[in-house]
């Protein structure tokens, strides 16, 4: 009974339909985290797995995770991309030990059970025993011991996976606006990977996903952007929130004349003038979008972020590794057929993003600041009421509507 009371104390009531007040226990409660792995990651969602470009040839595989569960994605001899648990059907050992590779068969190191690329068990070592003795019984049926498959789909060069056979098709899952912006960002040619990196964050995965959806902080915490007027809240732009609340797109159009007075009148650090680059070639860009949008930040619930900042394009995968720890896997991309000049432009602009990025390195630390500050006082709540309490698409950005959208989706899936 005592444990029950403690749990109640740590989880005060959360009013039904309230997406504006977020109790802090959701970021630190171990039991809630286990429920998320089950109800969200293994639930009716599409998890980002890898780039199709990472599996160019038949037999190419990549290992990753859904939540904390190891999965593998492999292109079969028929060219079809399939996904499986990265786990041998025999004793449950990890099947592929390396992050990526190319194989004809998937063979377990433990007892050499091997599978074809469609997950069928093809060979069991000593199936007929040794010296005519031992071996598998006659009723052992290899066809019943294949790899456990997961649902897999491809969209715009991205490979997604799901544990739930009932998950909607990807375009229905995303909704028309998310589809439109994913096509804008990634759809014009096959993607080309130009680098990777992993940023280890000392915070719950939701704090990072909220941070991505939180346009409010972007021009305040990330001083660099604001000082160069690449992104100010007054610039033309908006936030699109999918009907479910799950996904969002924020976009803005650079306009050096708009929105600067607002910053001067606020007591925020972002306004410092007189900051100029010694080498402005860092920000040189080539117009490849032709729609005037300079910044597109897009999230696909629960594990994907697409970022386009002029010619800097990144596909970011959010992977929880513990209740208070998250890996952010950065994939920096361009397109097949990019000129040397375009690649160099992307590489220079990528100084803005990644673990060392002028406008993203802070995000590696800010979630940890929350995670530390809420310790022991999880009975309290945070507040996300900028722009009101609604979850709607708006054509301005001084709002937290997309953060509330996250909680709408989250509370629905979790039943909390």
């Amino acid at each position: 009974m005592e444990g029950f009371d403690l749990e109640l104390a740590a989880r005060p009531a959360w009013r039904h339909g309230d997406y504006s007040h977020i109790p802090f226990w959701v970021y630190s409660d171990a039991a809630n985290y286990q429920a998320e792995l089950r109800d969200i990651y293994k639930g009716p969602v599409w998890n980002y797995l890898c780039l199709a470009a990472e599996l160019p040839g038949n037999g190419d595989y990549k290992t990753t995770k859904i939540g904390e569960t190891p999965v593998l994605v492999v292109r079969g001899e028929d060219g079809v991309v399939r996904g499986f648990l990265n786990r041998c059907a025999h004793r449950g050992a990890l099947l592929c030990l390396e992050p990526r590779g190319s194989v004809k068969r998937l063979t377990c190191v433990y007892h050499a059970w091997s599978y074809d690329l469609e997950g069928n068990l093809k060979n069991v070592a000593f199936e007929d025993g040794a010296d005519g003795r031992g071996g598998m019984p006659d009723d052992f049926d290899k066809s019943r011991h294949g790899l456990r498959p997961i649902e897999v789909t491809e969209f715009c060069g991205l490979v997604f996976g799901s544990f739930d056979p009932g998950v909607p098709d990807i375009e229905t899952y995303l909704g028309p606006e998310s589809v439109r912006f994913l096509k804008r960002a990634l759809g014009k040619a096959p993607l080309k990977l130009i680098g990777r990196s992993t940023q280890v964050m000392h915070n719950n995965w939701k704090l990072y996903l909220e941070n991505v959806k939180d346009v409010y902080h972007a021009t305040i915490l990330h001083l660099f952007f604001t000082r160069f007027r690449l992104n100010r809240l007054g610039h033309e732009g908006g936030i699109i929130v999918s009907d479910s609340g799950a996904h969002h797109v924020s976009y803005s159009k650079m306009d050096a004349e708009r929105g600067n007075q607002d910053y001067a009148s606020q007591d925020i650090r972002s306004t410092g003038e007189g900051f100029s680059l010694n080498d402005p070639s860092l920000l040189d860009s080539i117009d490849e979008w032709e729609d005037g949008i300079t910044v597109q930040i897009q999230s696909v619930f629960p594990s994907l972020v697409i970022q386009v900042i002029q010619n800097s394009i990144a596909v970011r995968q959010i992977l929880p590794t513990a209740v208070d720890r998250t890996d952010l896997n950065w994939n920096f991309v361009g397109f097949e057929g990019d000129s040397e000049e375009m690649t160099r432009t992307r590489v220079k602009l990528n100084n803005l993003v990644g673990p060392s990025g002028y406008i993203s390195l802070e995000d590696g630390a800010i979630g940890g600041f929350v995670q530390r500050a809420i310790r022991g006082v999880e009975e309290d709540s945070g507040v996300v009421r900028m722009g009101g309490d609604d979850v709607t698409t708006v054509d301005y950005r001084a709002t937290e509507t997309s953060v509330r959208g996250f909680w709408k989706m989250y509370r629905g899936l979790m039943g909390v």
Binding site: G195, R196, T198, Q199, H202, L277, N278, N350, G364
Partner: protein, 160 residues
């Protein structure tokens, strides 16, 4: 038998690297760009990307001005918890040396010291350096810090 030219190159490389890491760990970061020629190449990457031949880098600069901008950002713009580094260097291997350029590679281990004193191994890897010795003092024409791991804890603000 190591040639006298190689030994001379090793002394020059050792001295430049010793002064370089002293600047990062104990000195004035504002002096860091002065260790490079202009133009120059400074990249921070990791072994997997390096082996795959990927062009991207965590930090990329091709001029002394870009290095000065990195210092300005680290000191005045970027937001992070105060911390410092301690670089421990291995012996430099001289790959090539002529009268104008030295190619050297040197292992590094960087400990990160947070403001509360928590100390951890932040990065290990190898510097691949091209040192220009044609001027008044040796300078890095190219410095590539190849980390062994692609994982970065929290953030990488101060250069390696």
């Amino acid at each position: 038998m190591t040639s006298p030219e190689t030994l001379q190159a090793k002394l020059l490389a050792d001295d430049l690297l010793a002064r370089y890491v002293r600047c990062l760990d104990d000195g004035d970061l504002g002096e860091w760009p002065g260790f490079f020629t202009d133009p120059c190449i400074y990249r921070v990457t990791h072994r997997a990307d390096d082996r795959a031949g990927y062009e991207n880098a965590l930090i990329f600069a091709d001029s002394r001005g870009m290095l000065m901008d990195r210092v300005n950002a680290v000191e005045n713009v970027s937001v992070y918890e105060p911390h410092g580094y301690r670089h421990i260097l291995g012996a430099s291997l001289i790959e090539k040396a002529d009268g104008a350029l030295i190619d050297a590679s040197t292992s590094f281990l960087v400990a990160r010291i947070m403001q509360d004193g928590e100390t951890s191994v932040f990065a290990t890897g190898i510097y691949r350096d091209r040192i220009d010795i044609s001027g008044d003092e040796p300078l890095f024409a190219e410095k590539v810090a190849v980390m062994d791991s692609e994982r970065v804890d929290t953030l990488l603000a101060i250069p390696l």
